[in-house]
Every structure is written in C-alpha cells, then in structure tokens.
C-alpha cells in the first residue's frame, strides 16, 4: 500500500503551480481566441453572401465533428511538413481556440436569434448603420444571456488543456507526468493536479450557476 507523502507533495507543489500558469495562460488566450472566432463564425454563417456563409458553416460542422486531440496532432505534426512551424504553446492555443470557437459560434447564433425581430426593425426604422445595429443594439442585448453558456465552455476548455501535453506543452499535467516518471511516484503529482483543477473549476462553475440564475437561462 502506497501512502500519501505530504512532504513530497509539498516539495513538488511549486513546480506544479509554475506549470499551472501555463495551463491558465493556454485557457485564457485560447478562450479569447475562441470567443472572437465564434462571433466571426456566427456572423459569417448569417451572411447573405454564400461564399462567406457556406465556408463558415462548413468549418463549424467539421471542427465540431472531429476530436480536439486529432486536431492538435494535425496542427503540430502535419502543418510543419508544409512549412508552418509554430511553438507548441501557440499550436495548442490555436487548436483550443479553433475547437471551442466552433462551439461558441453556436452559442452566439442562438443568442442572436433570441433577439426579437422588433429590435432589428426599430434599428432599421431609426436608420442605424449595419455596424451600429450590431455593436450597439443587438450584441449588447444578446451577449449577457450567453455568458453562462460561454462560461461553461470556458471551464470545459480549461479541463481539456491536459491534451496539450500530447503536443509537448509543459502544462500542469505534463509536469506531473514528468515528475512521476522521474520519481516513480504517481500518487502525489496526479492527486495534486486533480486538486488544483478542482480548486479552479469548481468556483468557476458556482459563478456560472449564479450567472444562470441572474439571466434565467440554462
């Protein structure tokens, strides 16, 4: 029976916390990318121009129907063969952003569709430009109710960052793997990784529940 060695856990904690910074960075940057890309894809799908709406739709459907891990491998191992060489972290962030952008685009789409037709019509009657309609009338109403759904994807993305270990990014899980293989002690590093993930995702989930209560959506 292996017992939990508190002293060892304490010893490796700083290394894991350091790696957690990478995890958080990947989540924040990846999600910022996903949030912007999702909006662009949602707007693209609504476009009346077929050569914008069709590719946007195709990207969303394709990306949503393929595993993130395969996408990450493709970006990391296949693209360099065509001369696209990017650091592992950048590839990871692009992969996360692309994958979750295709999900958030559906959130945006539903949120925009939920705005009453009368809002568009009033904006037309007041002669607002297309840009003003979107940025000042429609999106400011559509986005707040989307926040819980976007938040859920943020937490989901955070919990999927260990996949970046597969393309050599030394985030928290990869660091735990390295520690475990060097010390032959898997219990403490993996337990700590689990605890650290929990410590961040659980309060986030609670926060999202409060947002949901506030906006009355699920």
């Amino acid at each position: 029976m292996v017992t939990f060695d508190w002293e060892f856990a304490w010893e490796i904690l700083p290394q894991l916390l350091e790696a957690m910074v990478v995890t958080i960075e990947a989540t924040v940057v990846g999600f910022a990318f996903a949030a912007v890309l999702g909006l662009l894809l949602a707007l693209g799908r609504r476009s009346e121009t077929w050569w914008i709406s069709r590719p946007a739709g195709a990207i969303v459907e394709f990306v949503r129907s393929t595993p993130l891990l395969v996408q990450l491998f493709f970006l990391f191992y296949v693209l360099p063969r065509y001369g696209v060489r990017l650091p592992a972290f950048v590839v990871g962030v692009i992969g996360l952003g692309l994958h979750y952008g295709s999900y958030t685009s559906e959130v945006y789409r539903a949120g925009i569709d939920a705005i009453a037709r009368g809002q568009w019509e009033a904006a037309t009657a007041l002669n607002f430009s297309q840009r003003h309609k979107w940025t000042k009338i429609i999106l400011p109403q559509a986005i707040p109710p989307m926040l819980p759904a976007l938040g859920n994807y943020l937490v989901a993305m955070f919990k999927e960052t260990p996949l970046l270990a597969a393309i050599t990014v030394v985030e928290m899980f990869q660091r735990a793997k390295i520690i475990s293989s060097l010390t032959f002690r898997p219990l403490e590093p993996y337990t700590l990784v689990g605890v650290l993930f929990f410590v961040l995702s659980f309060p986030s989930a609670l926060l999202i529940q409060r947002l949901e209560a506030r906006f009355g959506t699920r």
Partner: protein
C-alpha cells in the same frame, strides 16, 4: 426595370403608391395598390386584419420589399433608384437616404431595453444624424416633456408601463425629424386604461405639427378626430376613401359599412 414615366416634383404628393403588389407565399397582401398622401396630410388606414394595412406601412419603412410597383416618397422612388432615367433596384445606400425621411412607431414599442429612456431617444440623432450630444439631449428632453415623461429619462424601459413605453417610442421617432411618420396600431398592445394617454399625445402631435402621418388603427373615434382622410383597405386595395365625416357616417361601399358596423359595436 420600370420606366420612370411619372416624374415627381415638389408639388407632388409626399407619398405615392403605384400598383404596389406584395405577397407572402400564396397570400396576396397588396394587390396593385394605388394611394397618394399629400404633404402634411394625416390619413388613417382602416380595414379588417389581413387587409394589408400593416404591410403598407412596413413597405414604406423598408421592412418589407414589394414584389412590384413603385413607391415615391418626397418625390423620390423608395425601393428604386434612377439610373439614366430608368428605375433600377435600390441599393442599401439609397434605402438609408430614404429612411431618413420616414419614422415609425410600432405596436410592440420596440424600445431598446438595455438603454435608458434618454439614450433611447438620443442614440439615433447622435449616431445617424450627427447631432452633437448636448443638442440631442436638450431636444430629447423637450420631446420627453411633450409626451409627459421628462421625469423618466433615467429609467430603463422595463421600469415603465406600456403606455409610457409607447410615448417614449413616439418621442424617439420624432427625434429623427422625419417628414413622414408611420403609426402601426400603436395602442393595440396596451391595456385599455393606458390607451388614452397615448392617444392624447397623438392628438396633441396632430395639432402641433405639420408632419405627414399614416396611422393604422382600430380606434375609430381617434381616427375620426385626427385624420384628414380615412382610407379603407380591403383585400390589398383601397376600396374606399374620403373625409372622416363621410366614411364614418355615410360610406358608399357596403363592405365599408359592414366593417364599420362590426368595429363600432364594441
């Protein structure tokens, strides 16, 4: 393309519908509708539901595109643009120019819920007309005062009653200083006890301004009081029109009589 035979000039009507057709699928809502509205004229459009009243306004506001026919507003084609003397389909730029002449108040108010009352009224003057903020706010306060809501300018629409929201919507449309105002059943969504305050504002507006107004309403007493002319629509055409005294007391057409007897019973 349509030949532009009927050139409009300053002395022409403010609004002219020429053989305007609109259908939704198999439902023909407007059937070659012809209608002129003079400058500063106030007309009320009445008729059974489905007769095309609302569609007529929505086409004028460019919310629906007609299938055929030509509409002139202030001497210029609305849904077309003149290129070398011929009418071709209007582009967004032309539509935006034409929309500047027209304002609309909706049945469902359609205030922007995320903006306070004052900003609902100033947003378009500032960002569409380019009015400086201080001037736009001063004007908005005047208008809100006129509709009796000067004390509500820092409230959100959701904090107002339906009647108050509709009065803000009227102020918001007026703030754009349109030449033509369209009122689409603006009391239909209100609780009965709130109808009076909105009609009161409308009566005042009718007496104080020289704006051309097209009013779609089921409030016959109101229509009679404020309109120069009543237009009775039936199955997408103008079946009968005339001064209120005539239409409401001695209409020529049996359909008009039938319609009025039904609505005046209530």
């Amino acid at each position: 393309m349509v030949q532009d035979n009927d050139r409009q000039d300053a002395s022409g009507p403010m609004i002219r519908f020429q053989k305007v057709k609109k259908s939704f699928g198999d439902v023909h809502v407007l059937r070659e509708l012809d209608l002129d509205v003079a400058t500063a004229e106030r007309i009320s459009i009445i008729g059974a539901s489905g007769s095309g009243k609302t569609t007529l306004l929505r086409i004028l506001m460019t919310l629906e595109e007609p299938n055929s026919g030509v509409i002139y507003v202030d001497g210029e084609p609305l849904w077309h643009k003149k290129v070398n003397g011929e009418l071709v389909e209007a582009d967004e730029k032309h539509l935006r120019k034409m929309r500047g002449k027209i304002g609309m108040v909706f049945q469902q108010f359609n205030l922007f819920p995320h903006m306070k009352v004052l900003r609902n009224v100033t947003e378009a003057p500032i960002h569409v007309l380019g009015t400086p903020r201080d001037k736009a706010e001063a004007r908005a306060k005047e208008l809100l005062d006129m509709v009796g809501l000067a004390d509500k300018m820092d409230n959100y629409p959701s904090q107002l009653s339906g009647g108050q929201q509709q009065r803000v919507a009227i102020a918001r449309a007026l703030a754009m200083q349109p030449k033509v105002m369209l009122f689409d059943e603006i009391t239909a969504a209100l609780d009965p006890e709130l109808v009076g305050e909105v009609l009161g504002v409308m009566r005042q507006l009718a007496h104080e301004t020289q704006m051309t107004m097209l009013i779609v309403t089921h409030e016959m007493g109101f229509a009679r009081d404020v309109s120069h002319r009543i237009v009775f629509l039936h199955e997408g055409q103008v079946l009968e029109e005339g001064p209120p005294e005539k239409i409401f007391t001695n209409p020529d057409h049996p359909r008009t009589r039938e319609f009025l007897s039904r609505v005046l019973e209530h």
